[in-house]
Subunit: 304 residues, 2 copies
């Protein structure tokens, strides 16, 4: 715990190496290093924005453009990119290198990719912890990028103050859009690559899919790669950020609810992870012998 | 419980309506109707085959062809198609209608689609229960089709005796393939739509990705839609089925381990689902007031 307190002090002073070490700690330690997070007591000043959407919609490019825009406003920007790649692809590391290229020498920017290493529950908890660490380290804006493939990837953005869902023309009929719950989580919907054919159609489909929502989210068209119409997105973000600055409580409660639920999800996934092979084998044998049902075995699997 | 015993008796006698009612029960009841499953005591005679892979690779067509092949062998075939569509698309119902078209009048075939209704944990448990019910109802072969998008979709096939992973040309570089853990779960890999350009390349990539596996799985090329080279797939399945018939214990233990873990996953997801809104709000307020950390709140969220 003493090590945690020291590390926390350095993070609070803005030491980048300690910041990186802190995130590595919550990423690798089961239980997300509670000592560190307790010592940090994040001030909840950072404005946290989630960016999610199907693969290939240009989320990383969009995040890159947002970093540039907010650096012009002199805000310090921290980025957590959740990249649930398998160990085979090593996607997370490669992503880091590509991203760092543009902002690598800017000390007002900190970018970190996190890989799930095949364990969604742990990732959701580590993500929540990493965002808290960036908050404690004094970043004004924290961007959390997740690949919106599965439901759990999308739910992670529930820990933020505002969610941008990134789509692109031609995705209209794609099952993934509705399947992953993307239509439920966004505050701002972006049809990126809007120069491509079908952008209007995508906007129409999107407006239709969002019609059931109690408050209509913003729907914007832009092209992140050439940087076209990024200003409109910044305006939409700034509107929510102004609300956050004026009365942070409401959005902080939303973000904290999300963080608590994602952390609890991580704890549960860990319980499952901790079930030993031999315990599972023993339970399976009991079922095969007819002594237990599958359901009874599932209830007993966490015992000794 | 008396209702469960009666329903169980009817399912064991092969009554189709009761079978359908039983599956609806495990799909809709939290806890997967333990009374019913206890009363059924599935005999573990059915050979259970999982079919998974990214969207659009032709899994449903392949399953359809396998039904026809195995009906020729006079095996009774039960199918559970897990279709995690949002309520918006109603995908599961539509899927049922399309599939039933070909085999609707054949009483040796029972097909059921299950939708996740936004709750992966519950689905994994219900799937395990539904497969047990089909076993109890006397089906010789149970096919479990899941869309291999996220990790949890793929893990569900761990409840089977054999797993077919369906891919297609052009998917080689697709992040989804490696991300979802598809390279770890398959006993048989199928490159479907093998008439399309890039089939050879896909096979090469696949063999490379599978090189690290202790036992080399089969890799096959076929075209399910025109029904080309299906025989090779049937041979590969029959090889595993012969092993199952000769010494069922090993594969049954594998399947039961998977069922127990998936059922436990369902139980855990349900715990999270049961957390009341007001409880989550209260915990978030405590964190905002600085009385608890997010991590402490996550541990307390399941209390009263």
């Amino acid at each position: 715990v003493r090590g945690s307190a020291e590390l926390a002090q350095k993070i609070l002073r803005g030491d980048r190496l300690s910041l990186a070490r802190g995130i590595t700690l919550v990423e690798s330690t089961p239980g997300s290093a509670p000592g560190l997070l307790k010592a940090l007591r994040p001030p909840r000043r950072a404005f946290i924005v989630g960016v999610t959407g199907p693969p290939g919609t240009g989320k990383s490019t969009l995040v890159d453009r947002l970093i540039s825009q907010y650096r012009k406003k002199n805000l310090r920007v921290g980025v957590i990119a959740v990249d649930p790649s398998s160990p085979i692809t090593g996607g997370a590391l490669l992503g880091d290198r590509i991203r760092m290229a543009g902002h690598g020498k800017d000390t007002g920017v900190f970018i970190r990719s996190m890989a799930s290493r095949g364990w969604t529950g742990g990732l959701s908890r580590a993500t929540s912890s990493a965002v808290q660490i960036l908050d404690a380290a004094g970043f004004d804006l924290v961007l959390l990028e997740t690949v919106g493939i599965g439901q759990s990837d999308v739910e992670v953005v529930g820990i933020t103050h505002a969610v941008i869902v990134v789509l692109m023309p031609g995705l209209g009929d794609d099952v993934q859009v509705s399947k992953a719950g993307l239509m439920e989580v966004g505050d701002i919907y972006v049809v990126n690559k809007a120069d491509l054919e079908g952008a209007n159609q995508m906007v129409t489909i999107l407006l239709g899919a969002l019609r059931g929502r109690p408050q209509s989210p913003s729907v914007l068209r832009l092209s992140a790669l050439p940087g076209k119409d990024i200003a409109g997105l910044v305006d939409a973000i700034e509107e929510i950020r102004a609300r956050f600055s004026k009365a942070p409580k409401e959005l902080n409660l939303r973000s904290l609810r999300g963080m608590i639920v994602e952390t609890a999800r991580g704890n549960l996934a860990e319980s499952l992870q901790r079930v030993s092979e031999s315990k599972a084998d023993e339970m399976a044998s009991q079922v095969l012998l007819g002594r237990l049902t599958v359901e009874e075995a599932a209830l007993r699997i966490f015992g000794n």
